[in-house]
Symmetry: C2
C-alpha cells in the first residue's frame, strides 16, 4: 500500500479539483459523483447512492468584524472571523454592540444581568495541558455549539467564540452551532487566537469595548444528499456486515483535507487493497462515504435507519475522522470484556505503528448504528498534535497531509477489517 | 512545559534570526554565542565553550545542472541539484559528460568498464516499504557517502545521486560525502526525486544522455568551533554525569529546523524545566550543543576525548537528532539485560506518547562517548514519517515544526533524565 497506494492522488483530486463540499453545495454533488465512480473503479461488487435529506446552510458572503471603539474612543481594529455553521446572519448592516467578555458558562451566569443588547465573547481556552488535544476540543466545543443560545437567553444580540485550537496562527475555526428554539437565534462568529487574546486583553483593561460584525448565513430548504456506498460481498451468505467509512462533506472555507478527505480516501483505499489482493471476505464489507457530518449528521442517521429496517447485523463499524496523521491506535465502543479479548491484536499492529486499543471511540457517522442496532464501533486514533492547528480552518488543505502518514492509517484499518472478518469480535 | 515551554520561540530565533549554520560559517559563531547566553539565562550553574577544530567547507556558489543532449540531439532540461557537502567543485566551466545510470553498487560493478570519463547517476531508491523511514535512509545513505569515490575508482568524472527521500516534491537533499584518498576527488550532486525519475527514464530509453553540472565547493583551513555546554551540578559530589544534547550546526541551504534545531531547543528546555521546578539532581547533568555533526562530527569526538581525559563516568548520554516530531520511544545502546530492566519505565511514559524502548540507538554526537568510555546511549525516537521529506533540503524550516510535537519530545527526555538520575541504569 505504501508503494502502490492511490489514496494520496485521490485526495489531491477531492481537495484540489472539488474542494470544500458542504451539504447542499454544488461541490457536494460533484463529490458524490466522484465517490461513486472511484468506488466502482476500485473494484466494488456493487456501488450505489443512499439518499437522505440534508440541511442546506449557506454562508452567503464574507464574514467581517472589527473593534470600533474603546472607552468611547473610536478605533478600527479588524478581527479575522468566520460565522459559525448553521448560524443566521446579522443582516447587511451588521450588528454593533458593547462586548461582555466571559471565560466560561459559569462566568456568563455571573454576568447574566448585563447581557441585554450586548455581544458575548466566550474566551474559553483550549487546554494545552492535555497530552491528547482531542480532549481539549471536546471540553471547549460546547461554547461553539451552545454559546449563542445560552447568551441569547439573557438578551445578548451576538456571540464571538475563541476558536477551538492551540495553533500559533490567527485562523478562525468554524464549526456547527445548535440553536435552542426557546431563545432568539442570534448571530455567532469564531475569532482566531491572536485576535481572541487581543480582544480579551482590551476587555480586561477597559470598561467599554464596542465591536461590530457582519455575517450572512441562512438556510435554504433541505435538499437531497447521499451516502455513497460500495460493497465487497461476503462469502458466507449471512446478513452480517463490517462497515468502514469517513464523511464526504466538509466545511466551505477550506479543502476538507484532514477533515475528512483523508478518511474518505482511506476508505476507498481499503476497498482497492482488498480487491487487489484478491481477498474474498467472509462478511460483506461496506465502504461508506457518509453525507453531511459537519452540520447535521443526516447521512449517519439514514445509514443506521436503513440497517435497522433491513435487519442487518453489523460486526463492527470503523470510522476514520480524526485526521490523516500517523496512526497510534483504535478506540472502541464495545464491552470491556470484548476489548480485553482483542487487545492482543495490538501486537500484530505494532509493526505498523499502532500500540493502543482504548475505549470510547467511534465517529459521528457510525454512532447512530450503535444506538439503533447496537453495532460495535471503532475509531482510528491518529496522532492529533497538529489537528487543531487546522481543524475547520482555512489551512486544512491538501498540502497539510503527508502521504505516508495517510497510508499508514489505511494499512491499520485494513488489518483491523481483516482481523474482524476472520475472527469476529466474539 | 506545554504551557510555559520556551523551546518553540527559541527555535524561531535560531532558525529565523541565525539560520543555516554550517561549521566554519559566520552563523556558526552567532549560534554558539546565542547558545551560551541562552543556556546561562535558562539557569545553568555553569556554562562554557569547549573548543574543537572543525572543517570549513564552503559551497561557494549556486549549484547548477541540466540535460544537454539525448542521443546527440541538443535539448535543455534544467535539473534541480545541490552539491554534496565536502565535495570539491567542478570549476567554473563545469563538467559535461555522458551519464551511466545505475541502480546500485552491484549494478555499478557490472558497468565498471564503461565509466571512464562519464558521470555516474546512482538511482538507488529510498525503500518505501519500510514502516520506519530511517531504515531506508540508512540503507541508501551509502550512495551519498561513498558513491563518488567508488565511481572515481573506475574513471568517472562526476556523480549524481538520487536524494535520500520519499517526498512528493522535487527538492534535492544534500549531506556529506567521504572521499577515499586512493581515488580522484570527483564532484558530486544530489538531484530531487522528480528529476531523478526523469533522468532514469531517459537513460533507460536512450543510449546516450549527456548532462552538465557546475559546483563550486572547496575547503578553507580547519577553523575553531565549539561545543556549547551547560551544567546543573549534582548533589552527590561524584564524577558521574548524565549528558543530554543535540547538534548546533546545520546545512547551509536551509534553517536546520528539524535537523537539529529542535534537538538544540529541547536540550535547552530540559535545563530550563529542571531549574524552574527547582530540581536538584544527584548526578551532574550536562546540556551539550554539539559542534559540526553534519560534515565532520568533531564536536562529539572532542567531548568524548575530554570526558576520557577527565576520567568522567557517564551514566547515560541522550541525544535528540531525528527531528522534532511526536515522540514514540527511545532507542538505547546498552546491554539486553539493562534494557529489560528499564522497559517498565515505558509505562510511566505512555501518557506522554512514548511506547517503546528499543535497542541500537544514540546519535552521531554521543556515539564517541560509547566508544571511548563505554557510556550507555539513548536516542529520542520521534515519529519520522515526515522527516525525509525535508531532511537536508531547503524546506527544513521553522514552519515545518509543530510546537506541541516539539515540546512532547522535550517532556519525555526530561522524564528519562529524571529516571536515570534517580534510579540509575543498574
Amino acid at each position: 500500500m505504501l508503494v502502490n497506494g492511490e489514496a494520496f492522488e485521490n485526495l489531491r483530486h477531492l481537495t484540489k479539483h472539488i474542494g470544500g463540499r458542504l451539504a447542499g453545495s454544488p461541490q457536494m454533488v460533484k463529490a458524490e459523483n466522484w465517490g461513486l465512480i472511484t468506488l466502482k473503479q476500485s473494484g466494488a461488487d456493487t456501488a450505489y447512492l443512499q439518499q437522505c435529506m440534508v440541511p442546506h446552510w449557506v454562508r452567503g458572503g464574507t464574514d467581517k468584524a472589527s473593534v470600533v471603539s474603546v472607552d468611547g474612543k473610536m478605533q478600527k481594529k479588524i478581527l479575522d472571523v468566520l460565522a459559525l455553521g448553521n448560524s443566521l446572519g446579522t443582516g447587511k448592516k451588521g450588528i454593533k454592540a458593547e462586548v461582555v467578555a466571559v471565560s466560561s458558562f459559569d462566568d456568563l451566569e455571573k454576568h447574566k444581568s448585563e447581557l441585554k443588547g450586548k455581544i458575548v465573547f466566550y474566551n474559553y481556552p483550549f487546554n494545552p495541558t492535555y497530552i491528547v488535544p482531542a480532549l481539549a476540543y471536546r471540553e471547549s466545543g460546547i461554547y461553539r455549539a451552545n454559546g449563542a443560545s445560552r447568551a441569547a437567553k439573557y438578551g445578548a444580540i451576538g456571540v464571538i467564540v475563541r476558536s477551538m485550537s492551540e495553533g500559533t496562527n490567527n485562523h478562525p475555526h468554524t464549526g456547527s452551532l445548535r440553536y435552542n428554539d426557546s431563545f432568539p437565534k442570534i448571530p455567532a462568529v469564531a475569532v482566531g487566537l491572536q485576535d481572541a487574546d487581543f480582544l480579551w486583553q482590551i476587555c480586561r483593561q477597559h470598561s467599554k469595548v464596542q465591536v461590530t460584525f457582519t455575517t450572512n448565513g441562512y438556510f435554504l430548504p433541505d435538499t437531497v444528499g447521499h451516502n455513497v456506498i460500495a460493497e465487497l460481498k461476503g462469502s458466507d451468505g449471512s446478513n452480517d456486515f463490517i462497515t468502514v467509512g469517513g464523511h464526504l462533506d466538509s466545511w466551505d472555507i477550506n479543502e476538507g483535507a484532514h477533515d475528512d478527505g483523508t478518511g474518505i480516501v482511506q476508505t476507498i483505499e481499503e476497498l482497492r487493497t482488498l480487491k487487489t489482493l484478491g481477498y474474498r471476505p467472509r462478511k460483506t464489507i461496506r465502504f461508506v462515504l457518509f453525507a453531511n457530518e459537519e452540520n447535521g449528521a443526516r447521512g449517519g442517521l439514514m445509514y443506521a435507519e436503513q440497517a435497522k429496517a433491513k435487519n442487518e447485523n453489523h460486526l463492527l463499524a470503523i470510522e476514520s475522522d480524526e485526521g490523516g496523521f500517523t496512526p497510534r491506535g483504535f478506540s472502541f465502543t464495545i464491552s470491556d470484556e470484548k476489548l480485553e479479548k482483542i487487545k492482543p491484536w495490538t501486537k500484530l499492529l505494532n509493526a505498523y505503528g499502532v500500540y493502543e486499543f482504548t475505549k470510547g471511540g467511534g465517529g459521528t457517522d457510525i454512532a447512530p448504528l450503535n444506538k439503533t442496532i447496537n453495532a460495535p464501533l471503532a475509531g482510528l486514533v491518529p496522532d492529533n498534535q497538529r489537528y487543531f492547528d487546522l481543524h475547520h480552518a482555512r489551512n486544512d488543505v491538501f498540502e497539510a497531509v503527508n502521504k505516508r502518514e495517510l497510508l499508514l492509517g489505511a494499512i491499520n484499518m485494513a488489518a483491523l477489517i481483516y482481523l474482524v472478518d476472520k475472527y469476529g469480535l466474539q
